[in-house]
Symmetry: C2
Subunit: 378 residues, 2 copies
């Protein structure tokens, strides 16, 4: 195997693929990165068996030459050293060769590394997904759906199914739902002309977090295909494959109250700032609890107290309050994460009493929903 490649392109691909490689894995060869040279381009592969990432660098693209002097072949390199080496090479191009004894040479300028490789034949084959049953969506929209839901997955292994995001595609609608049983985040978007459907799959939150780091914030399409136990996200130069979580995701729609007794409209940033401040004194004790009380006119008071440290109170003037008076306590952490996820100037919060879950929407009625269970205070 031999090729000469643009260093910066190689760095970017290596960084993407590294997201799937874990130094702790039961299959030793998976601590390495597979490098495969074909005449049309170079493919890097990393996997921790839950997530697999393939990054492709075409030999030529848009009239630019990325890779030259290609002799086909493949090798597995130690992922512990390869990324740092590539990053610190002195020149803009890198020559990588591997001989029949698995000796790898990396040259750039006057610097030469000789590394011990491993046989690519021993690297596990990634499953090939049927991609006929796929649908497409803009990459930036996928990223924003992930960001708006994934933070709400459970981090507790007691109910493993809740560590994933529930995805459904039916009737040309795609929905993401995540819950840790104290709060829930969901978003739905239309997918016109989807030529596939899937009822209910659960993608590990970790996979979606890694995917989100790798995807560029572009309007270009990402193609998504699902089988029984895998999901594949494919962009022009990237294949991101994740296993799915086994088990049935709980039916969450019944959690969502369909009526409300108090509705508050507020500027997202203002509310967020005031909850952030109130949370400062609630840090350790009492689980970050802050209290919201409606007041005269369109005044809302946010308060918190810590017997040892002191108290904090802030009145904010909201855009509107409808319905009953309300005093309710909730986790400031959940509330801040929900408000940040909404990412819209104004929010609508619907309460059904101090002991019932409440829901937060963007005021423009986008189908983003954040639900939070209140905290009982005595």
């Amino acid at each position: 195997m031999k090729f000469v490649i643009q260093r910066d392109q190689l760095i970017a691909s290596v960084q993407d693929v590294m997201k799937a490689i874990s130094p702790r894995t039961v299959i030793p060869i998976l601590t390495g990165m597979k490098v495969e040279a074909k005449h049309h381009g170079i493919t890097l592969t990393g996997s921790d068996s839950d997530i697999s990432i393939e990054s492709y660098i075409p030999a030529e693209e848009d009239g630019n030459v990325n890779v030259e002097q290609i002799e086909e072949g493949s090798i597995v390199l130690q992922a512990k050293y390869f990324p740092d080496i590539v990053k610190k090479l002195p020149e803009k191009t890198v020559e990588i060769t591997a001989d029949e004894n698995l000796k790898v040479t990396i040259k750039s300028g006057k610097a030469e590394f000789n590394l011990n490789g491993q046989d690519a034949a021993e690297y596990p084959q990634l499953p090939k997904l049927q991609t006929d049953d796929s649908f497409e969506m803009p990459t930036d929209l996928l990223k924003s759906m992930i960001k708006q839901t994934v933070f709400a997955v459970s981090t507790m292994e007691t109910r493993p199914i809740l560590t994933g995001v529930n995805m459904k595609l039916a009737e040309n609608k795609l929905s993401f739902t995540a819950t840790d049983s104290h709060r829930l985040a969901s978003r739905e978007i239309p997918i016109p002309n989807a030529n596939t459907e899937f009822p209910s799959i659960v993608v590990p939150g970790k996979s979606l977090n890694e995917l989100n780091k790798i995807l560029d914030d572009t309007e270009e399409k990402v193609e998504i295909s699902v089988t029984n136990n895998q999901i594949l996200f494919r962009t022009e130069h990237l294949n991101f494959l994740s296993r799915l979580l086994d088990g049935n995701y709980p039916e969450t729609s019944r959690l969502i109250p369909d009526q409300s007794k108090t509705v508050i409209y507020a500027k997202t940033k203002e509310l967020l700032g005031s909850i952030d401040r109130a949370s400062l004194l609630a840090k350790e004790e009492r689980n970050n609890v802050v209290r919201l009380s409606t007041g005269e006119g369109s005044l809302v008071e946010i308060t918190s107290n810590s017997p040892e440290v002191g108290t904090v109170a802030e009145e904010i003037t909201v855009s509107g309050i409808e319905g009953e008076e309300l005093k309710i306590s909730f986790s400031s952490k959940y509330m801040m994460e929900a408000l940040r996820a909404i990412d819209y100037e104004e929010v609508k919060i619907e309460f059904t009493g101090a002991m019932r879950p409440f829901i937060i929407h963007p005021a423009n009625d986008d189908p983003i929903l954040q639900l939070i269970l209140p905290v009982r205070t005595y």
Copy 2:
């Protein structure tokens, strides 16, 4: 006590003073920050008994009003909460009041914090240093002297005196020296018209690191005064007081070879880059050792190897080699830190054989000296 202060000024002062405050201290009141209001301005104080920092915000400065509505008094606030509160306040001004029951109110816009303070009378008095015997130097020069030496202090508590930087002022010359017994860093500068001298004091490396973070990179003067067991650094708005280390600093001048057998002149960046690359494979085993060998003409080869991983070699063309052939091994970490500290385009390295310490200077003969003990390899 009462005053209304510009939030951003308060934030900056609080951040400086926090550098001296440790949540773990044997004197409980030192986990707090003292706030003292006088008609002429506000003083914040923090201390962990090794380091004490006072930051002063004048009520008026250059025609700008920083503090208004001052009622004199003082209070100690819990440092665990105060900085975050100040940082997150909604408006540009902050009103702080403390009543006779040590209740503190912090108001900004509609946000109001009520905190429990502690009696400032219980806060230890900082020692007042005689500042008649002081000298001045530009702040940026002090910062660069610290940066060029402090990294070489020992982190081992086995010889506590080596965890400090040795400072001397004599014959209008100020010198800083640090060593961990494997390498040594020193710099000397002229101090014209110093009306004081001190023979040999040792300032904790930690103190100098904190001081360096606080000082601005400006040409304005910092005033330095030394007593038996304390050193005070004073700028217009800052008093930084550190205790000195007890004990005799070892005589280091005899370590420095006064002749050399091989001299290499090299571009600092080029040499640094190549050692950085060679160090990549030397990370874990063998203590980051790399090898330098002189070659034909003005070629120098930097190599390293790790039996498990592979080898790396790089030839660089240096500006000049004088004297005997040389093969020498040393810690890449020490060498990189020394080269970075020199901060000059070209270096002169003087060797006295493979088993003797070698020294690195800027090629312009500035009195900066970095000394490194080589590593014996078999």
